[in-house]
């Protein structure tokens, strides 16, 4: 069994009287694709938002890469090595694809105002490295030919890919994808599946929220099921699929 990358300890989130997450504990191992599924409103995206610092947890904590994860601001989570995408794509619409990915390098680079104004050798080298790396990422997800197109003008599937490229540019240890296949047709979903499987092959750990059960079952090493903010199952896909509690949650029996 490989090492544990992320551990959630009894994470809870309440919005007023609504219990969006109730003591969710789970462990994600190094190098696996971990699926998080559940019916609409089960708290999957809330879990993402708590993990990435957009919401603060009511109670509970995370351990990431062997150290407690301090979540006081989203940018610190990104610095620690967790990158995410959004359910409703959030690109920098009026910047080019390349610029979008270059922004992703922000957290791993240092140039400040002085460097920008003086444009010394160090800053120029860093800038060139940012661009090189961003292009690499675009190649990796397969949209390098659209590098100079505005993000908003890309086809839907490419926008999803661009968001993944931007997240990858932050050098994450854990990539969290929030419904990456949402709104995709069968061909696009198949291509996405190849891409995510490739990420695992390259040693990245992936946390995947997804509605497309076929995609989750075929791709994930382990799956957790949320229902009404509680984790009701966590296992390999084949076992989760046959779990009566999961079937009940999905069919609403």
């Amino acid at each position: 069994m490989s090492a544990i990358l992320l551990e959630a300890h009894a994470v809870a989130k309440r919005f007023g009287g609504i219990r969006a997450l109730h003591d969710v504990s789970l462990t994600i191992r190094q190098g696996e694709i971990y699926g998080l599924i559940g019916p609409n409103g089960a708290g999957k995206t809330t879990f993402f938002n708590v993990l990435t610092g957009l919401y603060s947890a009511t109670t509970g904590s995370f351990t990431f890469a062997g150290a407690p994860l301090k979540i006081s601001a989203p940018h610190q989570v990104a610095r620690a090595g967790i990158a995410r995408t959004f359910q409703n794509i959030r690109l920098f619409a009026n910047m080019t694809a390349l610029e979008n990915v270059m922004v992703g390098r922000h957290v791993r680079t240092r140039a400040g105002v002085l460097g920008a104004v003086l444009r010394d050798a160090g800053t120029r080298a860093e800038e060139a490295a940012i661009e090189r790396r961003a292009l690499e990422m675009l190649h990796y997800v397969g949209i390098a030919d659209r590098a100079n197109d505005l993000a908003r003008n890309l086809p839907y599937g490419d926008q999803r890919r661009l968001e993944i490229a931007r997240a990858l540019a932050t050098d994450p240890k854990l990539l969290a994808l929030d419904e990456p296949a949402a709104g995709m047709n069968a061909t696009e979903t198949a291509a996405l599946r190849t891409l995510v499987a490739g990420l695992r092959a390259d040693g990245l750990t992936v946390l995947l929220i997804e509605h497309d059960v076929k995609l989750v079952m075929g791709l994930c090493d382990r799956v957790a099921v949320l229902d009404y903010g509680e984790k009701i199952a966590e296992d390999v896909p084949e076992k989760v699929q046959r779990d009566p509690k999961v079937i009940e949650a999905y069919l609403g029996v």
């Binding site: 990435t52 989203p74 009026n94 922004v103 922000h106 920008a116």
Partner: protein, 342 residues
Amino acid sequence: MLVALALMTLPFALSAAGTAWVRITNLAILYVFLSLGLNIVVGYAGLLDLGYVAFYGVGAYVYALLASPHLGIHLPFWIILPIGAALAAIFGVLLGTPTLKLRGDYLAIVTMGFGEIVRIFLNNLSRPINITNGPQGIARIDPVRLDGINFGRDDVWFGLTVNGPTKYYYLLLLLLIAVIVVNMRLQNSRIGRAWEAIREDETAARAIGIDTTRIKLLAFAMGASFGGVAGGMFAAIQEFISPESFVLTESVMILAMVVLGGMGNIWGVIAGALLLSFAPEMLRYTVVPVQMAVFGRLLIEPEVIRMLLFGLALVLMMRYRPAGLWPLRARQREFSKQDVAK
């Protein structure tokens, strides 16, 4: 090359029409500084600031206090300008800190209040200790002196009379080149991209690892420092300043320059600033003679015509060029309806 030559000889051509036009040009360049500074905050980072003139005022008063008989201090301008820029930047952070969570209209209201607070302070800091000399303002401010050359006086070089405003023109031109270079380099850098990212989608920017607090404060500080430099030069050129120069309408005017030219695009902003600085002066010099010639008497005051045309221009802009005369390619797309994503 041709542009450079034209810019170099401009003051002599203008002098033929009257030294006043050289002064007007100098003020126009100051407005270019201010617009470019505000452009960082509004155009790049997308933060609406209606109190920008406060930083202009801070820069001007720093110069006035450190180079006039009022406090008896007479520092050279190349020491004062950086101090003014730095202090303005600090004021920028002061304004930015409490407004970090605000956007759009709410931010505009708070920044507007900030501008007024600074002006009221300038007006009232004559008691108990006389710092700003209140509404009377500060007079007899030192002109710029550089290597024995006094920018406030005329000189004869190589048989050519070079008056004060002309000397300031060249100094401002040099500063202008520096300001433009700084602006362009900032836009095209790690920091500039972070500003744009915040403008485009703040949540995504945070999630991707941008410390939005720091980057926004940086935008406020950088924008303010440009205003500080412009203020310092304004004080030196005018040799007199009072709180009256730093009123809300000035903030609105500078914002109008940025928006008219095309937010985010350096050249558009420069064009907007020049246009809105020169147009009223042109009117002032044409309206009266034209009316006298046509009607034989003055029917409509120039000031009335100015506001009339200004209003008309605003309406026409909204209708035909909502993204500005010379918009950033991205901003242009933002406003065009045919090109909605998906």
